[in-house]
Structures are given as structure tokens and as C-alpha cells.
Amino acid sequence: MRVRIKFSKHGVVKFIGHLDIMRYFQKAIRRSGIDIAYSSGFSPHQIMSFAAPLGVGYCSNGEYMDIEVNSHQGSDQMLTALNEVMVEGIEVLSVVALPDHAGNAMASVAAAGYTIEWKEGYEPLADLEKTVEAFLNRDTIPVVKQTKKSELSLDLKPGIYELTAKENCLYFLVDASSSGNIKPTLLLEALYRFAGQEFDPLAVQITREETYTALIDGERRTLVPLDAVGEKF
């Protein structure tokens, strides 16, 4: 059975990188006693895949991974067993079983929501609400994306589904699919450049609030959290 696990990441563990979080969960699952399935071969590994890597320094309320289990004692027991072996800062929020037709976590990702807060000692972008309004009021939002080998010009606008500012906070919902992923810092750089300022990545705390998948019903595309496609068991 395939199981989707949702967790949050806060506090000092935000400095643990994606690969180390994967290693952390491999060990945590062993400690929890969950009957996870293994690949075959001389060094068997757990059947586990993560939805979207989270950058070092980011917090999250909506991280996901899928695992395959051989047996279980229900989703509540699994959630409790996992939380008993978590470190401070990582909490398992939900455990659901995936239907057979559901795609894997990584391929399912369509969008992600982020909150941006300015850290102590840093000034938020001036006139945040007005700047955001003007920023969005353009037909295109051109940016230059630095890739490993070259520079790529693209328009951010189609990938920004929502962008709001309130009380010196920003929230945005953007494309996070493998083909169109918008890194939060790319959007913030564009916003700062639009305001005629330079973006300092150390000034903000970025929190991924949720990771979404798209449900397609004819013409209609609805974004739902990744665990909405599964059910408790």
C-alpha cells in the first residue's frame, strides 16, 4: 500500500538540507517500527519518495513524502508512531493511503504556497501592498533565470496564481511543477527589482505553507493539498 505523509519543519531543523531530511526520515521510519517495503538487492533501500525539495533555511507547514508499506495498524497509529520518534521542529501532520491511480509525490506537485516574513533587524519592502499591486498589474513579469550553463528569459506572470501583501507579510501561490517551478527567491528578486531595490535573501524567513496537486475535471483545474487525494485508513 502506498502512504502519503505530510510533515512540518520549523526551528533549528530548517538548517537541515533536503538530502539529510531524507536520511533523517529513513532512520525515523526504522525507529518507528513501520513495516516499510524495501527494494531488493545487496543494499536494499526503503521505497520512499519526496514531493518537492525544500531549500536550506526555509520552514514549512506542508512537506510531503510517499512510502510503500507491507502492513499497517491504521493511519492514526502510524501518525502517532512517527511523532514519537521525531526531533523537535519536525511534526507529522497527516498520514493517508493513496489510491492506485494517484501519481507519485514528486510528479503530482502542481503548486506551492509561501509566506514571506521579514526577520528582526530588517526592513520590509517599502509600501508593500501598493508595490505588489503595481507589480501584478503588468501584462508580463519578465525575469532572467540563471541556470547552470546559461541565462533564461521567462515570464513569471502565468505561474503566479496568487500574490497578496498584508501587515508586512507576503503570501504567494505559485507554480511548483517540475516544468514551471518558480523559486520564491526568483519572485522576490523580481519584486525588489521592480521596486528599484536589491533583494537580500537573509532579510526574509520563507515558509512553505502548503504543496498542492491539480485535480482536472474537464476544463476545470482545482488545486488541492497533496494529501487530499488520499484517505485515512
Binding site: I29, F42, P44
Partner: protein, 631 residues
């Protein structure tokens, strides 16, 4: 918004490589913040980077033991990597404990484990970043007691001036007594010297500033004695008598980032019966004490459960000599298979049993066999008392080649006492014979994976204290390099030279390791100078600077040759002679003479050589006698 306590700001952490090295909070780490029972704050430090330090079993044992006592909170400290080192100096950020993130200068103890000589400059980094004077005599009552332990404390003299105290021997035995004494002194207001003077009378404790060395004109030691009459003239090592019934970390700390030893480590025994004459550990940890196999099985399962590690390895100086090895290994193979856990085997002697085990736990195609002949000829192997014959190596190789292996790793040393050109060339010769064995026993049609591959590596021999070779001169740097070249050429002359790869270690580091290994107190100034010149992380070859050491020695008017290549007489007083590691000097002299006569000595299970360790009345010394009496 910030709901956590870290010594380093987000800005700093986002700038440095692997910030997870500095945040603590790992699974099984112990946080006693706010616990009013805590009376002693202990910082336990490994003077190298986190990934190395976190791989060390000894610290995990002491961490578990100390935190098991309700009045003690033990935290961990590792050397900040070069990037953070620069920032901490520039921004005056004090060194901190990983668990509480509090400055080290507010702790009661700073314990530093001494695992290899090349970390000595890192010790000074830690002291300086902690805001402590480098020299023990300059520290005040409020500052932590700096205590050293571990293998290098068997010659603590080169770093003696930097430590308040050394704990000689195994840490499980005397910490409670030491901490109780400290608590009593702290309650009445700590007088550092009064505490240290009393501590110096606890067995195993050495307070260097209460001992004085007089030198002869030639630079050797004339006398070494305590400045107070009540202090012992000889300090004996501490040793755990019942290794099956002592502290062992059932819940070792599990790092977030990948460290060198990212697995459960099961220490199956302490000590070694073999008595290889170059090996320091083989003498220091006598007598051999095996842990009960049932206890080991229980520990293994418990630790796997508590850590979630996907691998387990056995630790000991010579696992093949562990009496119940078969039982333990077959138990682990069965249990680990159920749980999809890998078993990493230490270098076992190659025989039918080890090959069977290896074929079960490793992918033969990817794994290699390891032999450590240490010397290229039988004559020299007899000199060093390495009981491994060419016949055994070739038979083992043949067996392995027939079993499907095709890769062999060989470890040698260059510069061993009495070594001749023939011994050196023997390295190439033996490598060639192993390759030839492959072609003999593996029919052409079965040769896969591009045939046989032999990797021969050599390190340079460094005489160490408390070994029969402690009197031996070390080779010069030039001799070392010439010898490596000789091997390289000799390998090229072999018929199977295309199948043999030869690597050798750098000579420069070996020279300085040799300097520090048998050094005296005069070297503390040299170490300080090298540190002031910017040396750090010198066990990392890219950060080692030979020239800094030569410069510093010159500035101090000291000679590298005096400490390394000089011939020492049997009468010479060595800097470490005031320590008693369990084996007697008379035994070491006997073994040194046996070596020069090219004679092997039997191992502890074959015959007792009267090394002195029988006085502890434990381990192999009594077990073998009991077995003989029963016959």
C-alpha cells in the same frame, strides 16, 4: 518569529558550509536545560570537524555515562570548520556547546579527546575560541578545567602545558570520583590549585603543572618528578575490569548529516592478543577483554532500534580473535536480513569462514579483500611480529579468487627497523605473487570484471611510545621518499605489473607525527607557534604545512632529528616513562631485542610473555590460565 536558541545567527549559519554541524538537536542528544539537579556542566570535545568527531565511539560512551548521572550535563563540541572559524574570530563569537548553545567558558569542564597527534593545533583553536588562556597556569577559578584523555595522552608531554589535567586510561572508571571531588570544592568556592592537587591523587589523574622535568645538556631528560611529595611518581592507567558490565550507549546520538561512521558500532572487545611490535594500541589496551556474546546481541538489537541506522559494524583491534565471532556474526546476518540492515565487517583474517560471511553480506563484484602484511618479506614480518605468512596470504587469496573476488588491497609500512632493500622490493614481489595466484586458480573463461586488481599501499613507520619499537630511529624524510620510489620501480618490473597499483602516504605528515609522538614538553612552544602561523585541521592533507613546523622548530632552537631519526639508548628516560600503561619496560626491552634477532613471539592465547598486564587479573590473562588448569 525566532522561537529557538542558537549561538549562531541565521546570517552566519546561511553563510557556512553544512550549518547542521552547529545546531545540535539530533536524535538522542541530551538536553537538560532548566534541570535544577544539574551541578556540573561538562563539554566533551573531539578536536576535529563534526563528521569525524561524531564518528567516535569513545565520546558516545562517555556522553552516555555522564548524562546518565542526574547532576551532570555533558554536551558535545567539535572544531568549527575554517569558514566558521574565520567568522567567529571576526565577530567575537565564543565557542559553544551543541546542546545548550551556551559559551564553553561557563562550563565546569572542557574534556578533549586525543586520538591523533595531528589535531594538536586544533586544541589551541578550541581554547582560543572558547576565550580561555592557552596555558593552564594562566587560567582562573571561573574558567573550566581542561582535561585530556585518549590514546595520545600516553605521551601527553608535547601538549602538557595546555591541559590542567589528563585522565590516563579508560574513561569509565574514575569520572564519578573526580566529579564528586570537584563538586565538593565548588561548594566551598573553587580554588583551582587546591582542587587539582587533590585530583592528582586520584588514580589515573596526571596534573602536568605539578611535575617538573630536568634536562641534560644533550636535550634528553635527566629527571622527572612531582613538585609535591604526596603526588605519585608513576601514574598508572585506568582500566575497565568487567567489559560486559559497564557503560555502553544504548541510544547513541544520530547525526542529521552524513558522518564518517554513520552506523551502529558494536565494540566486541578491548585489547589485542597479537603483540605486533609497531602497534601502540596492542600494548596500551592489554589485557584483551572480550564482551559477552549474549550482551553483544542484545546491544546490537537495542541500538539498531534506538537509532534507526541502516548499518552495523563490529569494532575491535582484531575481530577474528573474538572467541564467539561466528556465533555473533551469524546471529547478526540472520537478524539484519529480516530488517534490511547492512553489516559492515572489519578486516577479518581471510579464511573459509570470513569468505562465507563476506559472500553473505557484501556484493562480491564490488568488494575487495584486505590483507595487512605490513612488511614485504617474511624476515621483516618476523621482526615486527606480524604473524602472517606468505603462504597464508596466497592460500587466502586463492580461496577468495575461487569464490569470485578479484580485488585485493594490501597494506604495508616502509621504514621499519632493520629494513633492507630486499624487504622493500618484497612489497612488489608479494603483490605480483598474489596476481599470479589469480591466473593460476581462475580459468580463463571465468575471469570477469577485467581480471585481477591489486592495490598496494604503504605508510611510513612512526615509532610510538609504549611499543617495543619506541627505541627505534625513524627514517628521514628523504629515506622515506627513496623507499617509496624503490617500491614503485620494483612494481613496474613485475610480470603482472599492469594488475598492480601502488600508493604511498605523504612523508611530511609522518615526520611531524613522529615528532609529536615521542616529543617532550619543549614542543608546546613549537605547537603554539605553528598554530599562530595559521595551522589548523592538519590531519587533512590539504591543510597541512610542513614548512610551518620546520620554521617553528628553528625559532625554538629545536631539531626535528633529535625527536625522530635519533638513535635512543636503552638507558634514556623517555618523556612518557612516568606513566604505567600496564606493560613493563623490561618486557618492551625483551621484545625489542627479540625483534633485532628476527624472532617472533607467541600471542597471548598461545603463551603468556609476562608483559605485566596479568596484574589486572582479568581477560585473556586469567581465562587462558583457567583453561589450562581445566585441562
Amino acid at each position: 518569529m525566532k522561537e529557538y536558541k542558537l549561538a549562531l545567527s541565521d546570517e552566519v549559519l546561511m553563510q557556512v558550509e553544512k550549518p547542521a554541524r552547529y545546531i545540535g538537536n539530533e536524535v538522542n542528544s541530551v538536553n537538560k536545560a532548566g534541570d535544577e539537579r544539574v551541578a556540573i556542566r561538562f563539554a566533551m570535545c573531539f578536536p576535529d570537524v563534526y563528521e569525524i568527531g561524531m564518528s567516535h565511539l569513545g565520546i558516545q560512551i562517555l556522553y552516555d555515562m555522564l548524562n546518565g548521572w542526574e547532576d551532570v550535563w555533558c554536551e558535545r563540541v567539535y572544531s568549527p570548520w575554517l569558514d566558521l572559524d574565520r567568522i567567529m574570530r571576526k565577530e567575537h563569537i565564543p565557542l559553544f556547546g551543541l546542546e545548550s548553545q551556551d559559551p564553553i567558558k561557563d562550563f565546569d569542564f572542557l574534556g578533549i579527546t586525543l586520538q591523533y597527534e595531528m589535531c594538536y593545533t586544533n586544541i589551541l583553536q578550541l581554547l582560543e575560541l572558547a576565550g580561555l588562556p592557552l596555558y593552564a597556569t594562566e587560567r582562573t577559578a571561573e574558567q573550566p578545567i581542561v582535561i585530556g584523555g585518549g590514546p595520545c595522552s600516553y605521551n601527553p608531554e608535547p601538549i602538557a602545558d595546555f591541559f590542567d589535567l589528563f585522565y590516563i586510561g579508560e574513561g569509565e572508571t574514575r569520572y564519578r570520583e573526580l566529579l564528586d571531588l570537584y563538586k565538593a570544592h565548588k561548594e566551598k568556592g573553587l580554588d583551582r590549585d587546591a582542587f587539582l592537587r587533590e585530583a592528582a591523587s586520584i588514580p589515573g589523574m596526571y596534573v602536568p603543572k605539578f611535575y617538573r622535568t630536568e634536562y641534560k645538556d644533550d636535550g634528553t631528560i635527566a629527571s622527572f618528578s612531582p613538585v609535591y611529595e604526596e603526588l605519585p611518581k608513576t601514574i598508572s592507567k585506568e582500566m575497565v575490569k568487567d567489559v560486559s558490565n559497564t557503560y555502553y550507549p544504548m541510544k547513541p546520538v544520530v547525526p542529521f548529516i552524513k558522518v564518517t561512521q554513520d552506523r551502529v558500532v558494536l565494540e566486541i572487545q578491548r585489547g589485542c592478543i597479537r603483540g605486533c611490535r609497531f602497534c601502540q594500541a596492542g600494548q596500551l589496551y592489554r589485557p584483551v577483554r572480550e564482551r559477552d556474546v549474549e550482551v553483544m546481541k542484545r546491544y546490537a538489537m537495542e541500538m539498531l532500534k534506538n537509532t534507526g541506522h541502516e548499518e552495523i559494524s563490529l569494532s575491535s583491534l582484531s575481530s577474528s580473535d573474538y572467541t564467539d565471532l561466528k556465533e555473533l556474526v551469524y546471529f547478526l546476518i540472520e537478524e539484519c536480513k529480516k530488517r534490511s540492515i547492512n553489516i559492515s565487517l572489519p578486516s577479518l583474517r581471510i579464511d573459509a569462514f570470513s569468505l562465507d560471511v563476506m559472500s553473505k553480506v557484501q556484493d562480491i563484484k564490488k568488494s575487495s579483500l584486505t590483507f595487512a602484511p605490513e612488511a614485504g618479506s617474511q624476515r621483516l614480518r618476523d621482526v615486527i611480529n606480524k604473524g602472517l605468512s606468505e603462504e597464508t596470504i596466497l592460500k587466502g587469496s586463492a580461496l577468495a579468487f575461487q569464490g569470485g573476488w578479484s580485488r585485493v588491497k594490501l597494506y604495508f609500512m616502509l621504514g621499519l627497523p632493520t629494513e633492507t632493500e630486499e624487504d622493500i622490493r618484497g612489497i612488489a614481489d608479494l603483490s605480483n605473487k598474489i596476481a599470479a595466484t589469480y591466473f593460476e586458480v581462475v580459468p580463463k573463461e571465468e575471469r570477469k570484471n577485467g581480471s585481477v586488481q591489486i592495490v598496494a599501499s604503504s605508510s611510513f613507520f612512526i615509532p610510538k611510545p609504549f611499543t617495543p619499537f619506541q627505541w627505534s630511529p625513524m627514517n628521514t624524510r628523504e629515506e622515506f621518499i627513496d623507499k617509496a620510489q624503490t617500491v614503485k620501480k620494483a612494481v613496474r618490473e613485475q610480470i603482472n605489473q599492469k594488475r598492480i597499483k601502488y600508493n604511498w602516504h605523504e612523508a611530511d605528515v609522518s615526520m611531524i607525527e613522529g615528532l609529536l609522538a615521542r616529543g617532550d614538553r619543549k614542543l608546546s612552544k613549537v605547537i603554539e607557534k605553528v598554530y599562530r602561523k595559521g595551522a589548523l585541521f592538519e590531519s587533512w592533507s590539504e591543510h597541512f604545512h610542513y614548512d610551518l613546523w620546520l620554521e617553528a622548530l628553528k625559532e625554538c632552537g629545536l631539531s626535528l632529528d633529535f625527536y625522530t631519526t635519533r638513535e635512543r639508548s636503552l638507558e634514556e628516560i623517555f618523556p612518557w616513562d612516568f606513566l604505567d600503561c600496564g606493560v613493563t619496560k623490561a618486557f618492551l626491552i625483551r621484545e625489542w631485542k627479540q625483534a633485532l634477532e628476527e624472532k617472533e613471539s607467541p600471542n597471548c592465547k598461545q603463551k603468556c610473555l609476562g608483559c605485566g598486564a596479568a596484574r589486572y587479573g582479568v581477560g585473556v590473562c586469567v581465562e587462558e590460565k583457567a583453561a589450562k588448569a581445566a585441562e
